[in-house]
Amino acid sequence: MEDIIINNLDYPILTASTFFPLAGALIMLFLKRGPFIKWFALATTVATFIVSLPIYKHFDKTTYKMQFVEIHSWIPAWNINYKVGVDGISVLFIILVALLSILCVSVSWKAIQTKTKEFYISLLILETAMIGIFVSLNVFLFYLFWELTLLPMFLLIGVWGGSQRIYAAVKFVLFMLAGSVLMLVGIIVLYYAGGKTFDIIELAKVNYPIGLQLWLFLAFFAAFAVKMPMFPIHTWLPDAHTEAPTAGSVILAGILLKMGAYGFLRFSFPMFPHAVKVFFIPLLVLSVTAIIYGAYVTLMQKDMKRLIAYSSVSHMGFVTLGLFTLNQNGIEGGILQMINHGVITGALFLCVGMIYERTHSRMIEDYGGLSKTVPVYIVFFSIFTLAAIGLPGMNAFIGEFLIISGAFKANMIIAAFSILGVVLGVCYMVWLYYRVALNEINPITQSSLVDLDSREIATLAPLVVLVLLIGLQPNILLSYMHVSVEHLLEQLNKSTQLESINGYNTVNSIAEYIKGLFKWV
């Protein structure tokens, strides 16, 4: 029991924050349709946020151990426990989920006119699933929440989305499932290999045979890489983001993409350290490819939402680059960048959604000179554009700086290429800003443009605060993760006696072969 700190508050705080939205959704099921539904959804998300706040007050930053842990027997026949807890890696995501959910309800206030009840129920179920993923300490529970995100998201895209919504929704689900069913087989194999337990902490202590590690790494990689999405399997993302309603895009960009990266941190790194090292260079190359390829494709987009969607591919490339540098700076930068990306891209999607609500056009060519017509809107838009570029003093700068400095320690050539991504990032964002905010006033959409109202300002303001706060004082977040990341690195480097592990020679030759393929880096 020395690995965990049992919840010593007088109520189960993690369970409460996880299931509060679900309880709200269940109650909402029996409420009458009407304007009250929105208020109820807002109240539920705000309450969830407030319920989750004490986690940060009582969080002990000096230990890597899981905190606020609750354990209950769940399915004894299969040795499955209900076990939740947080450490420095996962704790920050809970607040991100809770915050973005409130903003999603707020931004959908007027945008969602049909089937509002179903919309908010889906949103609340999604919130429970997302928080659940980050607090699960049991693989079975984790998988349950992982899959639970699919259906609400499927409905959000498919029912309330744009013109190609059904195609996008089905594509989203099939891509996600293709990864996660392979992970399911991986989970079952892991269960037997790790001594018939689903406990994540117990599983991380086991030294798996290296051949098994490779297979399991690939099985889990399938699920995480699709979710991230990493380079060759990112094609679901532009469709899903573009067709989803604003709230759906925000959730997708803000949280769902992070689930993959979180999976690497929670499963792949501690459980399959050798496999991670074998695939070290290919993973870095894939990350950099995503950064540069994503940025180039972003440059050509004509649709604002699609543009931001593709920029996510590039930004998530930075996140994976940070994680796979396998050093303290890189991983901390990667985690921080996940939060940053959630804040910034979430905010950009909110901005696009707000303007789309007015003009019903997402095409860049339909806009121009917004700084003259809607100045307040452009103030927000400028802040988030600058943040996305990585302006010093704003949050993404810290994240990208840490990642790139980590990358230089890991591999010079890779790091040098990643700089290119930063440059391209400036290009596409500034060019977008120029075409939308500056330029001539475009008569096509001018008539329907109205500046932001107080609800919309209230929606964007918290994100501005976060952007500046993290940018100027990153230690607020970084201090949570230091110890946990150190422990993660210890786990990564745990067994030095590689030769003693079964089948090492074969694997070593595979590793050499892979290294040979990537000799040029």
Binding site: W74, I75, P76, A77, W78, K115, E118, Y143, L144, E147, L148, L150, L151, F154, L155, G158, V159, R165, I166, A169, V170, V173, L174, L177, A178, V181, L182, L184, V185, I188, V189, Y191, Y192
Partner: protein
């Protein structure tokens, strides 16, 4: 004449459920002839008979009785199946009531009586301890089903499917019987325990006969539970049969077939089971893949469900391939979940179905607007069939996959989950049509409060079992423990 030389009071006591059901079925037929009651009353009498039989099954759930000189074996395993059949029969009767009236056939006395006879037949199949009894049960089940499938006398599809089922069913019965005869020829007995002894003592006349016998028995079962490539009858028959009968057809005989097949390989041919593992591996992969790929291209919901049930049968074969206590328990769990889901799905189809309408995917467009609860239930059933958590379908699938992986069949598990991936496409198609397509003259389901309430309960059960499956897992584990 001394009757006690044929059977004892214990024997009779053991088959009280069957006796009750037979008496009920006969009295239902008599009541029908007497023309003094409304059809509705006759249905209620039949339902009461089923309930009574069910309660007797609880009382007599003894442990490991062998009755009638080795003909019947009653244990927790057979009791589990008895419950399942009675449950399926009861649900079918309740859902049939409104449906038959809608299709212009006032529910006649034969209908409940035939369902009761089918239930008796299935009970015999899983209680059997002798190949002859299995055959008897199988025939009783099949004969009732032939009539039920063609019950809509004025509907040409129903007639066609009745005839098709009769011809192919009779053919498969031939295989089964021939297999039983060859097994008898090889071992000199049809009794399970004596066959086991004969195999163990190696007093087999010819190994070739035995292998042929087992193979033919397997083909007979494969026809009944629709394993590829013996599944060709199922889409046509499922499509033509009255929808409530389709629900019965796709759940009960499958449960009985797998129940008897499991017993056969687990209790009788266990020692030579390893010789058949390759066959089962191929059957499993072929069945799930063929079923899934065919289901992808269907436009008719009933045909889609027919092919989906083929692919589910493929999953269940995994359990027979692995064949240990965990896998048998997983098969039982899967059968229960699968039965509830399919009964619920066909109940919704039967409620929604109109003359010439309500069977195509496109007929379900916009249903979520008018009937949010019914659509929600349908969505839960579809997710459960697809094996999404947190529905019971996921737990069921997980159990089977886990037992397969534990025995090292990892590639089979991978093929299984990839098949799940394919299946999601056609299951979600119904959800897409209900929730995401514009409405085109939406269906107006005929409301029957009892039926709607039951559908809701079933959907709820699937969610509850998906989150807290512990209780049912315990029951299936106990049942599996009694046969292995």
């Amino acid at each position: 004449m001394d009757i006690s030389q044929f059977f004892t009071a214990t024997d009779l006591f053991g088959i009280v459920p069957e006796i009750i059901l037979t008496v009920t079925a006969l009295s239902v037929l008599t009541l029908e002839m007497a023309h003094i009651f409304q059809p509705r009353i006759i249905l209620i009498v039949a339902a009461l008979g089923l309930l009574l039989a069910g309660s007797v099954v609880i009382q007599t759930s003894g442990d490991g009785q062998i009755l009638f000189g080795g003909m019947l074996a009653i244990n927790q395993y057979s009791t589990f199946f008895d419950f399942l059949y009675i449950f399926i029969g009861l649900m079918t009767l309740i859902f049939s009531q409104g449906y038959l009236e809608k299709r212009g056939i006032s529910s006649r006395g034969e209908y409940p009586a035939l369902i009761l006879f089918a239930v008796i037949g299935m009970m015999l199949m899983t209680r059997a301890n002798d190949l002859v009894i299995v055959f008897l049960g199988l025939e009783l089940l099949s004969l009732s089903l032939y009539v039920l499938v063609g019950f809509l006398r004025h509907d040409q599809f129903s007639n066609e499917s009745g005839l098709k089922y009769l011809l192919l069913g009779a053919f498969s019965t031939g295989f089964f019987l021939f297999g039983a005869a060859l097994t008898y020829g090889a071992t000199g007995t049809t009794n399970y325990n004596e066959i086991v002894l004969a195999i163990a003592n190696d007093t087999i006349l010819s190994n070739l006969y035995l292998s042929l016998g087992i193979g033919l028995l397997l083909i007979g079962f494969a026809f009944k539970v629709a394993l590829a490539p013996f599944h060709m009858w199922s889409p046509d028959v499922y499509q033509g049969a009255p929808t409530t009968v389709t629900g019965f057809l796709c759940t009960a005989p499958k449960a009985a077939g797998f129940g008897a097949l499991l017993i056969l390989f687990n209790n009788v041919f266990l020692e030579i089971h390893y010789q058949w593992q390759d066959i089962f591996w191929i059957l499993a992969v072929l069945t799930m893949t063929v079923g899934n790929l065919s289901a992808l291209v269907q436009h008719n919901v009933k045909r889609m469900l027919a092919f989906s049930s083929v692919s589910h049968a493929g999953f269940l074969v995994m359990g027979i391939l692995v064949l240990n206590e965990t896998s048998i328990s997983a098969v039982l769990f899967y059968l229960f979940v699968y039965s509830v889901v399919n009964l619920g799905t066909f109940a919704i189809v039967s409620v929604a179905e109109k003359e010439e309408k309500g069977l195509e995917f496109k007929d379900y467009r916009g249903m979520a607007v008018q009937h949010p609860w019914l659509s929600a239930a349908m969505t839960i059933f579809m997710l459960s069939l697809a094996g999404f958590p947190p529905t019971a379908g996921f737990i069921a699938k997980y159990g089977l996959l886990s037992s397969a992986v534990a025995q090292g069949y990892i590639w089979l598990a991978v093929i299984g989950v990839l098949n799940t991936l394919i299946s999601v496409y056609y299951y979600l198609r119904l959800v897409v049509n209900m929730y995401m397509q514009k409405e085109e003259g939406a269906l107006i389901p005929s409301y029957n409060m009892v039926a709607i309430g039951l559908i809701g309960l079933m959907a709820l059960l699937m969610i509850v079992l998906g989150i807290i499956p512990g209780y049912l897992l315990e029951i299936t584990a106990n049942a599996a423990a009694t046969v292995s």
